[in-house]
């Protein structure tokens, strides 16, 4: 068994206690999903589709209403598993400002380890290592509020990887960043996945980010609509648009040209593939 996270018939609702009687909103309806160890999974879906809720079910912040979620074989509904689950599936959130606790970068990275009662010398070692991994070591004594958005998110990632988790859940980590910050964060994520084999679950609504994953899951109205490789998913241009999502520009270009009768592959999702396919097409066109 190499499934790291397993969700089986997962159902989850938010209950608004402020209303009388309490209002229940069903967010996830019968989600069954496995995340394999070492996999880079991207979860796409428009705002309110339930994708963030799903991520929070993966580290026991949300407990299923019915169905089960297991992380590394541990049931999230069991209170005794809480710390073990959160230690092995760390989470990074959208707003970098609202997840940094301490007033000094290295103190913040140490936060989780201090909570776990790790030996001081070991904390020091792991904090330095984590900061070096995300390329923020020289900033270890800085105040977080003086860093750029991308740097803050990398500090947040360091705070998670210091726990040596098997998996990192990222809930729209780049939504509030500029292109430079987005690239910094994406590069860090890919490096962790490739070099250290960390399982990645990336919640996003940037298509170009999802295109870099091993596998993409599209969620809509609390249900999984599509599940496959980026090529399989993005080649369904019309379905994606109907779900209120987009496809990379290159995919759309090839899709439009195909519709116009050009002989192009349907599964173009990267710039390189697009350049290659178009070059071939143009050359062929030149030889009648």
């Amino acid at each position: 068994m190499n499934n790291f996270i397993q969700a089986k018939n997962l159902k989850f609702s938010y209950i608004n206690e402020m209303e009388e009687p309490p209002v229940k909103t069903e967010v996830l309806k019968d989600v069954t999903l496995d995340v394999k160890k070492g996999e880079f999974l991207a979860v796409l879906g428009h705002n309110g589709s339930g994708k963030s809720t799903l991520a929070k079910c993966f580290n026991a912040i949300n407990i299923p209403e019915s169905g089960t979620v297991t992380v590394n074989g541990l049931d999230t509904a069991d209170e005794d598993n809480l710390l073990a689950i959160r230690k092995s599936a760390g989470m990074v959130f959208q707003n970098p400002d609202n997840q940094i606790v301490a007033t000094i970068v290295e103190e913040d990275v140490a936060f989780a380890l201090e909570n776990l009662g790790v030996e001081p010398a070991e904390i020091r070692r792991r904090v330095d290592e984590a900061l070096k991994t995300v390329g923020m070591y020289e900033y270890r004594l800085h105040a977080p509020h003086k860093l750029s958005g991308g740097q803050k998110q990398r500090v947040a990632i360091a705070g998670v990887i210091a726990m040596k988790p098997d998996c990192i859940l990222l809930d729209e980590p780049t939504a509030m960043l500029d292109p430079r910050g987005r690239k910094e964060v994406m590069d860090t994520i890919k490096q962790l996945n490739r070099e250290q084999g960390v399982t990645i679950v990336l919640i996003t609504h940037y298509m170009d980010e999802a295109a870099q994953a091993d596998r993409v899951v599209v969620i809509d109205e609390g249900e999984i609509m599509l599940d496959g490789t980026p090529k399989q998913i993005f080649s369904q241009v019309d379905t994606m648009k109907n779900l209120g999502l987009d496809v990379p520009q290159v995919t759309e270009l090839c899709h439009r040209l195909r519709k116009a009768g050009c002989n192009l592959p349907a599964d173009v999702i990267t710039e390189e593939e697009c350049v290659k396919a178009l070059a071939q097409l143009l050359r062929k066109g030149a030889q009648p």
Partner: protein, 285 residues
């Protein structure tokens, strides 16, 4: 006819401190009445500082800003008037909502303009319709709305002031593709209906490319270039050098041209790319 003009506009943060930083360096700029101008630049390029000079939230260290031919910096009355002439929507504007109802919140700006009740009512209802908020939503608390609705209500709050220049700082940030498209449609409609000048600040070249008549590129406090999109995107390699990301199709066309296909260099939208390629293929066959 230019609606906003800057002459040698310079702004320095923290003058006489060790943190001194020139945010705007001798900016000369003319913005035409009725155009949509896209403003692009990475964080720290001075674009946010620039737009806050247009409605007097910031005052130049040296140089002048003329709105409608008038320098308003010295006159307190004019400074207030310029806030209504140049409407500014900040990034994440939903965080400025505060009234009990959406109606009252949209009416806040018009009320500050001392318009009469009837006019305020007309503007609130018209703008709500424009941004796609149903009349029954107007009586709700703004805090009950969904994220996208909140964003649109906040934008409506500035649009209801019917400024001659509407400036939006990253109006679509944090929204999903559908929400993004919706916001840009609203901006386009506002521009068409009111005929006002619109400035859109964005990191996303794709979004800007779809809408703008002209694009202003800021870099290190200076105007890098200010021209029509084809002219700007034909300098895509330089844009990438100053840390901006150009649209994917532009990069693809650059790569194809490097392979010697001799395609136009100003391709920046999918539609245009499709047109160019189809024409080329038809020509050859």
């Amino acid at each position: 006819m230019s609606i906003i003009k800057t002459e040698g506009l310079t702004y320095v943060y923290g003058e006489n401190t060790p943190f001194r930083k020139v945010a705007l360096d001798n900016v000369d700029l003319e913005i035409n009445e009725g155009e949509i101008l896209g403003v692009i630049g990475h964080t720290g390029s001075g674009k946010s500082t620039l737009i806050q000079h247009f409605n007097g939230l910031m005052k130049p260290t040296s140089g002048r800003v003329l709105v409608d031919g008038e320098d308003f910096a010295a006159d307190k009355e004019k400074l207030r008037a310029v806030r209504f002439k140049v409407g500014l929507v900040f990034q994440y504007p939903e965080y400025q909502l505060f009234e009990e109802t959406v109606y009252k919140d949209i009416a806040y700006g018009p009320k500050n303009m001392k318009l009469d009740e009837q006019e305020i009512d007309r503007r609130v209802r018209e703008t709500a319709e424009l941004v796609g908020l149903d009349p029954e939503i107007l009586d709700k608390s703004p805090f009950e709305l969904s994220g996208g609705q909140k964003r649109r209500a906040a934008i409506a709050g500035v649009m209801a002031m019917e400024p001659r220049v509407l400036i939006l700082d990253e109006p679509a940030s944090g929204l999903d593709p559908q929400g993004r498209d919706r916001i840009f449609e609203i901006i386009k409609r506002y521009h068409e209906e009111k005929g006002s000048t619109v400035l859109i600040v964005s990191h996303s070249m794709e979004d800007i490319a779809r809408l703008a008549d002209r694009i202003l590129v800021m870099n290190e406090g200076k105007v890098f270039c200010c021209a029509e999109p084809p002219a700007v995107f034909s300098r895509s390699t330089e844009l990438e050098q100053i840390g901006l990301s150009v649209p994917q199709v532009t990069r693809v066309f650059n790569a194809l041209n490097e392979l010697g296909f001799g395609l136009p260099q100003d391709v920046y939208t999918v539609k245009y790319a499709e047109k160019v390629l189809r024409e080329r293929l038809e020509q050859e066959s």
